[in-house]
Symmetry: C2
Amino acid sequence: MKGYYNGNLNDTKMDEVKLGKTKNTYIQWLVTRENNAPYAMRKFTIKPEGFIQMHYHDYVETLFILNGECKTYVDDDLLNLKKGDYIFIDTKHRHKIINTGKEDLEFICVIDYPDNMDIIPVDEE
Amino acid sequence: MKGYYNGNLNDTKMDEVKLGKTKNTYIQWLVTRENNAPYAMRKFTIKPEGFIQMHYHDYVETLFILNGECKTYVDDDLLNLKKGDYIFIDTKHRHKIINTGKEDLEFICVIDYPDNMDIIPVDEE
């Protein structure tokens, strides 16, 4: 068996993210456990005026911002993130991500694979 | 305890990679198991004429190319990679990475944490 798996963003399937009120958000799965990785690397694109609604899950995640700018809430904290910023969000901590710029917000997001992969949306006022 | 950890590339310590004949190569550790991640996200910079010599290890790795271009060898295969390309390299498969461009080669590299984290250099003719 070949010792590697490779691809390019332009050739990787892009799906719209469906999670509650989430808007203008797209995901590409680059590398997953199907490739024998114990983690998944995904690439997200949030168009202007788009956002991922508040939610939490058992898996941890690390975001690395490739392009654009956003507000990221984790629990009650607010962070303004831009290209070159990264953030690790620990298991079960609620978070949301809002594109605050005029460009696409693009980031890499690496997660692990705990037993429970459910995503729990959190309604806000 | 805070549910997140964050930083920026410009504020993250950069170390030269010392591995056999490896040249002009620098690593930054963005997120590690010390942050409660079961993986590590690192950022590599290989300057023009730089390369990482052939080697292998038990940990798997995924490269995501941010900038520049390179030749990557995995076992006896050669891949030409550029911005937007990604590659997963499975456990124990030997590989090397050569900056073939005039710009810095920059990539994200995500690894797991198997019991044995040793890096074994492979001498070539």
